[in-house]
Subunit: 203 residues, 2 copies
């Protein structure tokens, strides 16, 4: 049983049923939506998922749905399905970050392989997002002064230099430094840079 849920968004019930059956036969859970609006309004957000999205639908088009997803900051992998050969549309979708773009009729196994790969991408992205969110929360917990000291730390500066730069004593820098490490959950400046990445390029 592959982890994650596949959202099938297509106004053709035959396609929805066929895809649902196909995915089930390969141990993949799915749920079907008969148009883009229904999907955007009803889909649960916080889990590993991907979307199979028909390009041409009444109401919102596939691309419009995709744009709305991205505007909402939803980064689920999206696999577009199309029954019409439209190269510029395919190019546009892929350049906007679509996971894949598949013409009907498609090869069943290949499509499911693509879906599984998309779910794996979604899982990886979820882990990455979690790390990123934790980092952001930690950064947000810093006081303004602590943030200034962190900036100097990741540039590799000595406490003495930081003290001069901020116009305070070295002891004060040491206090802020210790607080930064504590809040960021690191033990030293090396771990801090590894976590935060370099905020200042090396000259």
């Amino acid at each position: 049983m592959t982890a994650g849920l596949v959202h099938i968004v297509d106004d053709d019930p035959a396609i929805r049923d066929a895809l649902g059956f196909l995915l089930r036969s390969r141990g993949v859970r799915s749920t079907a939506w008969d148009d883009g609006a229904a999907f955007l309004d009803g889909a649960p957000a916080p889990e590993v998922a991907c979307v199979i999205l028909d390009v041409r639908m009444d109401g919102l088009s596939g691309l419009e749905v995709f744009d709305i997803l991205r505007e909402r900051g939803v980064d689920l992998p999206v696999i577009f399905l199309t029954g019409h050969a439209d190269v510029p549309l395919a190019v546009e979708a892929l350049k906007k970050g679509a996971f894949d773009f598949v013409e009907k009729p498609f090869n069943d196994n290949q499509l499911v392989d693509t879906v599984i790969a998309a779910l794996e991408r979604a899982a990886a992205a979820r882990r990455h997002n979690r790390d990123r969110d934790l980092l952001a929360a930690r950064m947000a917990s810093l006081t303004p002064r602590e943030r200034e000291v962190l900036q100097c730390l990741v540039e590799g500066r000595l406490n003495k230099q930081i003290a001069d730069h901020l116009g305070v004593s070295m002891r004060t820098v040491e206090v802020h430094r210790a607080r930064v490490f504590e809040k960021m959950g690191v033990r030293n400046a090396v771990e801090l840079v590894a976590q935060v990445g370099s905020l200042a390029p090396e000259s």
Copy 2:
């Protein structure tokens, strides 16, 4: 005058001429090749450039030329031109990293804008490649022992811990440490991690 050179690879002389003229009118240098093999054999490597590549040619196809370029480690941006609506081919090219995929007939201004964007990408990649090559050269200059010490350093370990781990004295670690910093052109462990990136994820 936009920096860089555009390689026009197309077996149709009318297209080659028209594109050459179009680019010149926008201040972009170009050079034309009548087939993929000629381009691969004759194109000079070390400058900012991009490629406009026809998909369908006698001899090597556009995609085959692209594959060969990538196998050679050449990462010039490639803009494919095609006179045939072929969605799977477009999708394949883009997923392999093509810069763009354009159907004929195309909009002149849009194509040149795309070319200019591709040249900018090439320039940025050149700078990035230079940094990457310098880093690789520096890493290659390290002795085996120095490499081991570097690994421990970027994990944020104390000299005492590194000494225990490697079974040597702290003085030895200090010597290797100083040599690593010197060869990598950094002043301390923070700058080293910033340069090398974290080679060991924080637990």
